[in-house]
Amino acid sequence: MKKLINDPKAVVDESVEGFGLAHADLVTVFPDPKYIVRKVAPVAGKVGLVSGGGSGHEPLHGGYVGLGMLDAAVPGAVFTSPTPDQILPATLAVSSGAGVVHIVKNYTGDVLNFETAAELAQAEGVEIRTVLVNDDVAVQDSLYTAGRRGVGGTVLVEKIAGAAAERGDNLDAVAAIGDRVNQNVRSMGVALSACTVPHAGVPSFELEENEIEIGIGIHGEPGRHRIPMENADGITDRLLDPVVSDLGLASGDQVLLFVNGMGGTPQSELYIVYRRAAQKLAEQGVTVARSLVGNFITSLEMQGCSITVLRLDDEMTTLWDAPVHTPALRWGV
């Protein structure tokens, strides 16, 4: 394991500290319990937005704290959901009285810890709504599992719900648009290589030189199945097809196409995947109205990518285009 770290146990502490130093104009970092808050918080009258989860997915979630997106992010240990004693003060810090929305990726740990924090916050008089993100079509038979995982769609939920909160939507409206994004977004990922959790010191799984793992999550956990290496177009089809069919996309639909890098894949390769996906959608009569390409929700240094498609309506498009000013996503300001 070769990493630019000092001590496996200090990775999150030091990284978040550096993040706070680099973006002191946008965020405030509280070290213990650890959470990241938008510079001006709470924003009077605004619904607060809090998300969080294990670390190792950077820029998610800390990189999305700022105007038009999250009010606070709560980083757990690497690939480990944060705890209620972090989530609660983050929630209180961004509560202006208009209520707070928790955006939670659907993993048992995240759900349980946010659930506890929400109860505690409500006991302190803060109204909480929870938007659960579960866009990963790789999880099959989700009735008999912990359910679908929250992956790439999370970024889009955070952006669009964040814009709704910023324009002054009330608590229920912000939660509703978050849910609507979640209902209209699907994702699937592939790993060409595994990643190494710093405290584990060895890769999460082993892939042969000619193997890839289809249906990967974002925690270095193995995926749906392992297949021999294919070319980029073939892999793209394997990711895009289930996304399109699960979403029930039809000719005439407008979508946002999001090709995400898992952390160790060159941008040039992401554009090769984007090219194929955009061509295939166009062939099906689907209009790619918005796009996003890059490392936005990662698994440390994993090589691979995920494809996320969001079926847009006019309101979602407007909210997507609305100004955002965070360390990792910025436009219109």
Binding site: T80, P82, P84, V139, A200
Partner: protein, 210 residues
């Protein structure tokens, strides 16, 4: 003779030792069917419990368990943090103010712990989770407590042994809860890390009563 606060502190101390010793093993178990953090999480959590116990020495067994619950809840994270947190909290509540825990109360507290895990995690037996260690453990504990001689050590030994067997029994199971469930068929043939850490904790409870 029942179990006092000294036992509770020894239990937690032995648990912390077990988590440190088995840290790598638990990480390794969490690797093929999870995300390689269970040992790290549990070790971090129980180290924090040790710090808390030193800071505010508890007066009753229940106080020791409650402090453990709050610390695990706030330091472990992941699925295991809230589950173990709830387990210790419910056990503490079941113990009440007693400074000396008898066999029946002990069995009831273990049952409360298991029920807490089920209430939070909604897992059933056979889902390949820590519940598969806890359910046989509380059944064995209840049977041992019902024997009549009131020996708390027998209750704890019975629970530990059953939990260990329960952990082994997860090997062939297909996971339906937690991260391992994403793997479907591929989860078969691996032991559930949470079931193993549960067995370690229950073995520590028995060790503390020696």
């Amino acid at each position: 003779m029942g179990l006092d606060v000294g036992w509770a502190v020894r239990w937690l101390t032995l648990s912390a030792q077990a988590m440190a010793e088995h840290r790598v093993e638990l990480i390794e178990l969490d690797r093929p069917i999870g995300d390689s953090d269970h040992g790290e999480n549990m070790d971090r959590g129980f180290k924090a419990v040790m710090d808390k116990l030193a800071e505010t020495p508890p007066e009753t067994p229940a106080a020791a368990l409650k402090l453990t619950a709050m610390t695990l809840m706030s330091k472990v994270g992941g699925a295991a943090g809230p589950l173990y947190g709830t387990a210790f909290l419910r056990a503490a509540t079941a113990l009440g103010e007693a400074s000396d825990v008898d066999a029946a109360t002990l069995a009831a507290a273990l049952q409360a712990a298991r029920d807490g895990i089920v209430a939070r995690g909604k897992a059933e037996s056979g889902d390949k989770t820590m519940v598969d260690a806890w359910t046989p453990a509380i059944e064995a504990a209840a049977a041992a407590a019902g024997d009549g001689d009131g020996d708390v050590r027998k209750v704890l030994l019975a629970a530990a042994e059953a939990a260990e067997a329960g952990a082994v029994s997860t090997d062939p199971m297909l996971a339906r809860k937690g991260r391992a469930s994403y793997l479907g068929e591929r989860s078969i043939g691996h032991r559930d890390p949470g079931a193993v850490s549960s067995a370690l904790i229950l073995r520590a409870a028995a060790g503390a009563a020696e």
